[in-house]
Every structure is written in C-alpha cells, then in structure tokens.
C-alpha cells in the first residue's frame, strides 16, 4: 500500500537531512509504531506520507502512485483517505469541540444528519462527549489531544497517521486510546503511530520501525520500544 524508495528529506537551511535514504513497505491493514528519539525524523515521515511535504529525493508510492506526481484532485482524494493526528493538535480555536470534529465531515460534503450521528460516536470513543460544547482553549492538554484523535477517526479513514497521540494523556487514557486504535485496525484500517510510549509499544508487540538520525535502524514484525528486550 505504501512504499518508500530511497527517500531523503532535507529541510531547506538545515545541514543534516531529517530523513536519510529511507526505504520501506507498509501493507494494507498493518499496525506500525514509529519510534526513535526526539528529532529522529518520525514526524517528518508522517508528514511525507500525508504529502504535507515532498521528499527531497527518492519516491513515495501510495497504491503504486508517486506522491510527487499527484494532481490536485488526487491529492484531495489522498488526504480524504487519511485520518491525521497532529503532534500540535491543530484544532480551530473559534470552533467548539463538536464543530471541530464535525468540520472533518463537512469538508468532504457529508450530510448534516450523518454529522449529527457520527460526531457524538467519535467523541464518545475518546471519552469527551460531555465536553462537546467547549472550545479548545477551555480544554486541558490531554482533552485537546483527544479531540484531535476524534477528528482523525470520525471519517473512518483507510489510513490513520497519528503523531504522538498520547503525549499529553495519563497512562490509563493512553491505554484506552491505543485500544481504540487497535480496534480500528482490526476493521482493516492501516494505522501508523509515532510515539514515545515505550510501555505501550512493548506490550502491544506490533511492527516497530525505529529511526535514528533520519535512518531506519530497526524494523521488526513484533518489535519492542528499546533494544533491551
């Protein structure tokens, strides 16, 4: 489904590449943890997948299609297939929690009935149904993060890209959210999560891709967070 072919991403103005000659394949329906220390290139990789950026060299293929060659309509379709959880949330301050989640549906032209039905379900899944009328500025950090997750899953995407989705959440909540992701994964959705939650990674035993300074240093089918195990 997804293929990186010798992908290098060098940000303009920086000397070392954020991703360095990375090649990998991810099949439809896989559950992948992206791990690595701060600045290793995890977010960069997700942003390339999302086609927020294009690689400096190399190619990224989605269903055999080169991301660099996507035309505007294809790009739309591509982004609509993806549910993205941003590391910095990217919620709209002027919209309520409900509206923020509903926005993901409105934007692709879903009907008001569907929106009234789907949004509460997504909010309930992240445990925020009672905060639906609040604005992001009135939420705690972890609550905002969970709104971002609700927004990503509400469209029932075929791929979920989640960047540090449990960084602001207590371990118990983190477990529940991971539970949610594995559950969504079981319905056939590809899930790729960049995370530092070592205990979660260690216990779930999913595919782990470890990055270090922009290179893949480990790619294991049933991996763990660190080298220790």
């Amino acid at each position: 489904m997804i293929e990186f072919v010798e992908v290098t991403k060098q940000y303009p103005g920086s000397k070392v590449p954020a991703l360095n000659n990375v090649s990998l394949q991810i099949q439809r329906g896989e559950f992948v943890f992206l791990v690595g220390s701060s600045g290793a290139g995890k977010s960069t990789m997700l942003r390339l997948l999302f086609r927020e950026y294009l690689p400096s060299s190399g190619n990224i293929l989605f269903l055999g299609r080169d991301s660099a060659k996507m035309r505007p309509r294809e790009l739309l379709k591509h982004r609509r297939r993806i549910g993205m959880v941003f590391q910095d949330f990217r919620l709209l301050k002027q919209k309520t929690v409900f509206e923020n989640v509903a926005f993901a549906l409105e934007v692709v032209g879903r009907s008001p009935q569907e929106i009234r039905l789907e949004v509460p379900i997504a909010l309930a899944e992240v445990g925020l149904l009672d905060r639906a009328k609040a604005f992001p500025g009135e939420l705690s950090g972890g609550e905002q993060q969970r709104v971002g997750i609700a927004r990503a899953i509400v469209r029932k995407p075929t791929i979920i890209l989640a960047d540090e989705p449990t960084g602001n959440v207590d371990p118990e909540n983190a477990w529940q959210l991971m539970e949610l992701f594995t559950q969504i994964n079981r319905t056939g959705t590809t899930v790729i999560i960049a995370t530092h939650a070592s205990d979660v990674v260690d216990r779930l035993r999913k595919r782990v891709i470890a990055l270090e300074k922009g290179r893949i240093v480990r790619d294991e089918k049933r991996g763990v967070y660190g080298y220790e195990s």
Binding site: A68, R79, R90, Q94, V108
Partner: protein, 283 residues
C-alpha cells in the same frame, strides 16, 4: 465569529471610503469635462459689418465656411435694444436710436467646436464687408487651458486613487485572510477542495465590497445632489454649472458599485491563493 464580523465591518468601511474618494474625483473630472463642453458650445464670434456692407454677400460667405454650427444676424437696431436691456436702463438709450445709433450690423457665429474658433475668426476677417471680428481671445484661451489642465489632473488623481483603493482593499482582505490562515491550513489538511475553502472568502469579499461600495455610492450621491441642487439655483455662471442629469451620472455610480463588488472578489481570490498553494519539492 464576533472578531470576523468586526474585521468585515472595518473592511467594508475602508472599501466605502476608498471608493467614495475615487468617486469624488471621477465626478470632479466629469464636471470639468462638462465645463469644457459648455465653453465650447458658448464661444461666439461677433462679426461686425462695415456700415455700407452687403449683408447678403457676407451671409453667403459665412454659409460657405465649414465648421459653422449656427449664426444669427443682429441688426444695429436690435443690437441697441439688446444693449439697453443688458444694462437694464432702457430709456437711457432712446437718445441713441435712429441716426445716433453708434452700433454696426453684425452676425453672431457659433462653431461646432471651441478649438475651431481662432481659425474661423481669421477666415471671417478676410470676408469683404466685415469691419471687425471679436471673440474674447484671452478668456477662451484661458478657460480652455485651465479646464484641460484640471481635467487631466482630476483624471490622473482618480486613476491613482482607483489603483490605491484597489491595493488598499486587497490588502485589507489579505489581513482578514491572514487572521484565518490557520483555519485555511486545517481545512486543506482535512481534504477540503480549493473551491470549498475559497467560497466563504469570495462570498465575504463580495459582500464586503458590495456593502462598502453601496455605502460609498449612496452617500456620494446624496452629497452630490444636495450640493449641485444648491449650486444649480445659486450664483455660479452658466459655464460652471455642475452635471446633474441622472442619465449622465448613473453609469458612474454603477461603475463604482461594480468596482467594489469585483474588487472584493478579486481581493479575496488573490489573498486566499497564497495559502492554498501546495509545497514544492524544495520545501
């Protein structure tokens, strides 16, 4: 929401101000053009005949000239009467009647175009039986000069202001779009089509533009008609009477209205464009 509304009001009023100023100078330019036409249509060449001249031969000479719009014969008796009337003391001139009449017979000639006057006057001087030709050389030359100068200045200013207004409007809309830059980014990432993102901005721009120019044209129109109706019945000599026919003015007001409308739309399109652009390979 409230902040956006406030921003939209500011934008609309800025558009109103810019368009009103632009309109003021357009109206000034139109009026100066009118003054020029008035002058053109009112320059008369006075052709004084010799005492014993053959009126008919002079008449046919005048008819033979090209560029003549109109001519009237004024007999010396009629001339004295007119003169007396102008001075408002009729009986004062009775003593001058008959043999004492010091005025000559004359023709008043109007040309099709004020610029033809000097050449026409020269031609008339050469006609047999014409004693003198007079058309107030200095006055006409000065008036034409000044109105030409004013007209080009007002046009230049209104072009300049029109351009300024355009830039201003685009800039303000850009500010308002900038304030929602984050929102546009999120929409883009959620897979909204470019038209979906643009539409509200275009609607907003069009509304603000129309609202602004509506305010501008309405208040401009009100002030203009109030002003001109006061001047019309006032003391300005005929030449300087302002343009008041609705037929001549409505295209200007319609133009201003459309201008605001389209500037609003174009401004929005231009402002949003930047944030819709996808990244290139380098970035």
């Amino acid at each position: 929401m409230r902040r956006n509304f406030w921003l939209a009001m500011v934008t609309a009023s800025m558009i109103a101000v810019s368009i009103a100023i632009f309109g003021v100078f357009l109206l000034l330019s139109v009026n100066v053009g009118q003054v020029m036409q008035n002058i053109a249509g009112n320059v008369e060449i006075a052709v004084f005949l010799e005492d014993r001249a053959d009126t008919n031969s002079v008449l046919s000479a005048i008819k033979g000239l090209s560029g003549v719009a109109e001519y009237t014969f004024v007999s010396r008796e009629q001339g004295l009467l007119d003169f007396g009337q102008t001075l408002g003391e009729k009986d004062l001139f009775l003593v001058l009647a008959g043999e004492n009449n010091p005025l000559p017979n004359m023709f008043r000639v109007r040309t099709l175009d004020a610029t033809l006057v000097p050449a026409m006057a020269d031609a008339l001087r050469k006609v047999r039986g014409v004693e003198a030709v007079d058309y107030g050389e200095d006055l006409v030359a000065q008036l034409l000069n000044m109105t030409r100068w004013l007209n080009s200045m007002f046009l230049a200013i209104s072009l300049f202001l029109g351009l300024g207004a355009m830039l201003l409007i685009v800039t303000i809309i850009r500010l308002s779009v900038m304030a929602r830059q984050e929102e546009i980014g999120v929409m883009k990432y959620l897979g909204a089509s470019n038209w979906y993102i643009r539409l509200p901005f275009i609607l907003e721009g069009a509304t603000m533009g129309l609202l602004g120019s509506l305010i501008a044209t309405l208040s401009l129109g009100a002030v203009y008609f109030r002003l001109t109706s006061n001047l019309q019945n006032g003391v300005l000599p005929f030449l300087f009477r302002p343009v008041t026919e609705v037929a001549a003015l409505w295209p200007i007001f319609a133009f201003l209205l459309l201008l605001g409308f389209f500037l609003g739309i174009i401004g929005s399109l231009l402002s949003v464009r930047k944030y819709l652009r996808e990244v290139r390979r380098t970035a």
